[in-house]
């Protein structure tokens, strides 16, 4: 790998009106997307939202029922996969069961006519990258789940593809290994300038690794924007609820202030309004980690009844309920947390800039 680091510019991808039907079901629905060369794009979405299907179409394994895919200005909608020069990690790995680990990894090199010695060397290097030195002679069936996934990863990165498609490539790895792999992938990305489309269920992963994140739902893109923006100003309630946790409190917007059902009145800053918020039914959104515990009657605090305290390592999750029955969650650092009993009345305070207000249409 190391020596092969000539910077090939990553592929530039344009997707227009992409659609894929399975029978009646539209797995991907009128999806358009521009991925500039060298971008790291994360695809996020609930199970069954069409992420894998998009990747399969980008790779050329599924033919779209409508729409077009252009790679580097060339229409590729029907181009066969091997001509696209992509590296791919499949969700189910798809290792070749009859080839040893090293032969699996060397396969793409073989296809590119690399010499035997060269193949072995580079495959061994890729195995090192995924921390599988010495596993070369095993057969895939003799590996653990995480080891298989890493072989699939090594196979995708062993050559210099211009486009790297990864379908949850790290899902079977423990945190430490996953972080190491994230770093390796980032390194590869920045060294080689390869374009990456990355499907993950780990939001932290998406937010830390990707230049932009696209949120899919039912085959349609909900939002596509830079990580920070996505997290801090999700475009709609779905994105808001999907990325990270979000408390959503029903409210009434009267053009300048917000009435909560339990009676509090809040005056969020101008910046808190997402899009146009017409007067009437609205939603107040606030992230659990922006809430702090206070006395129930502290000024500006929302009073709530604590229902559950869930310990989660660094943080502790508090589940409470407002007077109108809305559940509200707070994530507070475990360290220094006063002893709280379930059923206790608590107050939840927040900074004004933690507030987001959505109009009815954003639901």
């Amino acid at each position: 790998m190391a020596n092969g680091a000539q910077t090939t510019a990553g592929a530039e991808i344009t997707v227009r009106g992409l659609e894929k039907k399975f029978g009646q079901l539209k797995a991907v629905d009128d999806l358009s997307l521009d991925i500039p060369s060298g971008e790291f794009l994360a695809l996020l979405g609930p199970s069954g939202s069409g992420k894998s299907t998009v990747l399969m179409m980008l790779a050329g394994f599924e033919v779209p029922t409508a729409g077009a895919i252009t790679i580097d200005g060339r229409d590729c909608t029907r181009l066969t996969p091997q001509k696209r020069n992509i590296g791919m990690v499949f969700q189910h790995y798809s290792l070749f069961p009859h080839l040893s680990v090293i032969d699996n990894v060397a396969f793409p090199l073989k296809m590119r006519g690399a010499s035997r010695a060269d193949r072995r060397r580079r495959a061994a290097e890729a195995l090192e990258v995924v921390r599988l030195e010495g596993y070369g002679d095993r057969m895939p069936s003799q590996l653990s789940g995480g080891q298989r996934q890493r072989v699939a990863l090594a196979r995708a990165i062993v050559y210099q593809p211009r486009l790297l498609l990864m379908d949850e490539p790290l899902s079977a790895l423990d945190k430490n290994l996953r972080e190491e792999m994230q770093l390796e992938i980032k390194r590869l990305h920045s060294e080689l300038g390869v374009t990456v489309v990355f499907v993950t269920h780990d939001q932290g992963e998406a937010l830390t690794m990707a230049d932009r994140v696209a949120i899919l739902r039912g085959g349609r893109i909900q939002q596509i924007s830079a990580a920070r923006e996505l997290y801090e100003r999700p475009a709609n309630l779905f994105s808001a609820g999907f990325i990270g946790e979000m408390n959503m409190i029903p409210a009434q917007w009267d053009g300048s202030g917000l009435m909560l059902a339990q009676g509090d009145r809040l005056a969020p800053p101008e910046a808190a309004l997402i899009g146009a918020v017409p007067s009437g039914v609205a939603t107040l959104a606030i992230r659990p980690e922006r809430l702090r515990v206070s006395a129930p009657d502290a000024p500006g605090a929302l009073a709530a009844t604590l229902e559950e305290v869930v310990y989660a390592g660094a943080g502790t999750l508090l589940i409470a309920r407002l007077a109108d029955g809305t559940e509200i969650r707070a994530r507070v650092p475990s360290a220094g947390l006063p002893r709280l009993a379930e059923g206790e009345r608590i107050g939840l305070t927040f900074d004004p800039d933690a507030l987001l207000v959505y109009g009815e249409a954003a639901a």
């Binding site: 394994f61 996969p81 091997q82 798809s94 070749f96």
Partner: protein, 271 residues
Amino acid sequence: MSGKLTPGRLMLMAYVYLVLIFVLAPIVVILPMAFSEPDYLTFPPEGFTFKWFGAFFGNARWMDASVFSLKIAVLTSIVTVVVGTMATYALMRGAGRLGTLFQGLLIAPIVVPHIALAVALYLFFRQTGLSGTVTGYVMAHAIIAMPFVVFTVAAALSSVDATLEDAAMSCGASRFDAFRLVTLPLILPNVLSGALFAFILSFDEPVISFFLAGIRDKTLPRMMFDNIEQNLTPVIPAIAVLLTGVSILVLVCAAVLRRMAQSRSIPAEEG
């Protein structure tokens, strides 16, 4: 399913041995007859002689026929396996809506009695000048062997994960390479079975070969057929002994080679 000796497995093996006895019984009866003195088949054999092997090797007509048949059988098995595997593959990996037609075409050649096929082909080949040519033989044999190859290959192909080929293509393999390097190794046992079937069907096919035969050349099965219909001499079991011997030898060599190859590679894992 592992090699553990459970009662179930014991019963299975007992049953299998019974089946093997059934399979081998006729062979056990036939092979010794090759060494029997009289010029007709006797069981138990009388006397002991190698003269029937001499009769086979010493007779130019037997030898010519053997060489000729071997040639045709080898060609047939190559042609059939290549064409049949390709067709099955194309069909099962979804190249079009020809499924039912394909099935029909496959099934028909086995159903039509060989003699009828022989007559039909004879008429046709005489018009086209293919009769008596190696091409003619191979085509005819390929037709009858084709279903055996296709069904055998299909049985294996149906259980090979199609996404493995996608994976290969994502690595830059062409569809053909993906097939050659990934799918083929996985279905190889059945492809080889198919090749064997084709070889045997061609090598042991008296009726069609005979009709297509030119005036001069003869295939081995036809020689044997004549022999059996007219004067069944121990040359026939002698040929069986020879073929059986050769095939066992090949099998043993293959096993030894594989053992050697294995011992050189991975430190042996079980399973």
